[in-house]
């Protein structure tokens, strides 16, 4: 033990002299007392494409602050990201859904035998219901009506169900074209989950990445949906709120009021939602309260997680993950994500909880 304490600086000196940087310096990282600029090494992550643009911005900023660290993030999709992380192909994963119980029961190749994997919320994105209907600027919808529109039960804009919710609007007789994602997406899953929980009689299908019904119109990716809604007539769709642009955005019914999306309302519902039960205290998987009746909440949100180990098989990677994820979930990282990806920053409470868990990572 003593030998390693003294040996390590010696090794660093020799290695520095030989100008061979990465490996041996990596070993030294845990010994360093104040983190930031002394970090070196390569960090690999994979997963959620919803986090993609935020990850790019985070990586750019983090690598500027820590020039000797290389961070790679492959936006291969949440499912693939979880599989890679479980198999040990990456140091952390981005995922739009938290780890399932059966996944948690298994082993994680990157974690030390005494460690386990936990879910940390790092990215909140409100999902906007966008529409393009001639002569209609404001639209109020409750979840049953929204569900019927996307399921194809309501086919024209002047349907009595829509008219009842929008007494002031002049609704045209135009047919409704409901646009959904044609590729698998966490956005679809959260949209489905919201409808399935708030209007179970209408939206009977269980939430999943593909759109569950064979109705309406499909479009590729968020930009495809936004394009289709913009260029079409009588169209309605759902997309990450940051991409809504100049399109009309529907307000959804929460309690007795109609609520439009705001970053604060999205952060608020996540903050006030309970954690998933029966998990370790360090696991911050959130059971989003879709049924909330508080009008300061906007329950149609997507929460994306960073999946990390509480204890890494390689302590050096633990240090890197700790530093990087702390940055992501911190104030700076959240404001970077807000400007790059249109995310809603984590509430202070939740950010503190995430920081507390990150403190314990080894």
């Amino acid at each position: 033990m003593n030998f390693t304490r003294f040996g390590r600086p010696a090794v660093i000196a020799v290695v520095a002299a030989l100008a061979l940087s990465s490996c041996a310096a990596n070993e030294a990282a845990p010994a360093a007392s104040d983190a930031a600029s002394t970090l070196t090494g390569t960090l690999t992550g994979a997963g959620s494409s919803a986090q993609g643009s935020a990850q790019e911005a985070w990586i750019a900023a983090f690598q500027t602050a820590n020039p000797d660290v290389t961070v790679n993030y492959d936006p291969s999709g949440s499912g693939a990201g979880r599989a890679t992380f479980i198999a040990g192909g990456s140091d952390f994963a981005g995922s739009d859904s938290y780890l399932k119980d059966e996944e948690l029961a298994g082993t994680f190749a990157a974690c030390a035998p005494t460690g386990k994997a936990v879910d940390l919320p790092v990215y909140i994105s409100p999902i906007a219901v966008i529409f393009n209907v001639e002569g209609v600027k404001d639209l109020n919808l409750d979840s049953a009506t929204l569900g019927k529109i996307f399921k194809g039960d309501i086919t024209t804009w002047n349907d009595p169900a829509i008219a009842a919710l929008n007494p002031k609007a002049t609704l045209p007789t135009t047919a409704i074209t409901a646009v959904h994602r044609s590729d698998d997406s966490g956005t679809t899953k959260n949209f489905s989950d919201y409808l399935n929980q708030t209007a179970p009689d209408v939206w009977t299908e269980k939430p999943g990445d593909p759109f569950p019904y064979q109705t309406g119109e499909g479009a590729k990716g968020t930009s495809g949906v936004v394009d289709a809604v913009t260029n079409g007539t009588g169209t309605i769709g759902y997309a990450d709120a940051s991409k809504a642009g100049k399109l009309g955005v529907a307000k959804i019914k929460v309690g007795d009021k109609f609520v439009g999306y705001t970053a604060d309302a999205a952060a608020a519902v996540v903050n006030d939602s309970p954690l998933v039960e029966g998990r370790d205290a360090s696991d911050l998987a959130i059971k989003i309260d879709r049924l909330t009746t508080d009008p300061t909440h906007y329950p149609l949100v997507l929460v994306s997680y960073a999946l990390v180990c509480t204890e890494y098989a390689k302590p050096a990677q633990g240090e890197l993950v700790k530093a990087y994820v702390s940055y992501m979930a911190g104030t700076d990282g959240q404001s970077v994500a807000a400007s790059a990806g249109g995310a809603a920053p984590l509430s202070a409470d939740l950010a503190d909880k995430v920081a507390a868990v990150l403190e314990t990572i080894k």
Binding site: T177, V179, D183, A219, K220, D227, N231, G232
Partner: protein, 314 residues
């Protein structure tokens, strides 16, 4: 008679260049076979798990692999067929105009422009389809459904964005137009001048001359050009994935929001988020596309060989 000759055959002197060149051609020729075999082997091995996949592995509610792939295979053939229906008459017209009607200077320029179309990347066609063509056609589709909705092909409800299989077929038709036109033009230009002059001398008008001499001569060329076009239409990925509003069903209606999608577009859409058995299933659909393309090409060969005798090409 060959045996007697073979015995005292005088061997041609073999120079280094001959040997290098013949080896090079043999290698190049067998490389094609090797690559094809490698692709086929890869697809077969990777797609094996898909054939025993459980219903839970499939997107949508397909019960097994064949139920999953059938609408996709149908969509692939259906969109390619529609594209060819639009492209072939147009291509023959353009080719005839260039070869027999247009003044020489104009014909050359026009030929270049058509060839230029082939150089446009398919993603650009996709953007054009989604940004220009679909919104342009949508009002037209609306009135088509209104007036001719009683024809099953034009049944409603009309798509509000115009991103239907007909739009896709028009985009595909524009994409396969250059290759069909270029080959047809070359074939028509090869019509023996004696035939043409003979029919004109017998009192045929220009149209009659084309109908009697040029088209029969070029028939096998037209067919093989169409098959090459079909090959491109079957495999087209990006333009379809971007323009089409897909739905995994067999539907004949051309103007609604639900359209059968193609195998290639389906792979492009779902591969990025696929994992586990999902990847194998997508690769297995790729194998099906591979087989379809192979079959189409073989049928084309048979047709061309059968027609060869009557075309005058020999």
């Amino acid at each position: 008679m060959t045996t007697t000759v073979a015995r005292d055959t005088i061997r041609a002197p073999q120079r280094a260049g001959d040997r290098v060149f013949s080896t090079a051609t043999v290698v190049a020729g067998s490389l094609i076979l090797a690559v094809l075999a490698a692709v086929a082997a890869f697809l077969l091995l990777q797609s094996l798990p898909a054939f025993v996949a459980t219903p839970a592995d499939f997107n949508g509610d397909a019960a097994n692999f064949w139920a999953y792939v059938w609408p996709l295979a149908f969509g692939t053939l259906w969109s390619a067929l529609l594209a060819l229906l639009i492209a072939i008459p147009l291509a023959i017209g353009i080719a005839l105009f260039i070869s027999h009607y247009a003044p020489r200077k104009l014909a050359q320029g026009l030929g270049y422009i058509i060839d230029l179309l082939a150089a446009v990347p398919s993603v650009v066609f996709g953007l054009w389809g989604i940004g220009v063509l679909a919104p342009l056609l949508q009002p037209f589709y609306t009135s088509l459904v209104e007036w001719f909705g009683w024809i099953p092909l034009f049944a409603g409800p009309v798509s509000g964005t115009g991103r239907t299989i007909l739009t896709v077929s028009i985009v595909l038709a524009v994409m396969v137009l250059p290759i069909i036109t270029a080959i047809c033009r070359e074939i028509f230009l090869q019509t023996p001048v004696l035939y043409e002059e003979a029919s004109l001398a017998l009192g045929a008008t220009r149209w009659e001359m084309i109908a009697m001499a040029v088209l029969p001569f070029g028939r096998s060329g037209i067919i093989s050009a169409s098959m090459l076009g079909l090959g491109r239409a079957l495999g087209e990925t990006m333009a379809v994935a971007m323009v089409l509003s897909p739905s995994p069903q067999v539907i004949f209606a051309l103007l609604t929001s639900q359209n059968p999608t193609t195998i290639a577009a389906n792979i492009a859409l779902n591969f990025p988020e696929a994992h586990g058995t999902g990847v194998n299933i997508l690769l297995a659909t790729g194998l099906v596309l591979f087989v379809i393309t192979l079959a189409v090409n073989m049928v084309a060969r048979v047709i061309i060989n059968r027609r060869k005798a009557f075309s005058g090409a020999n």
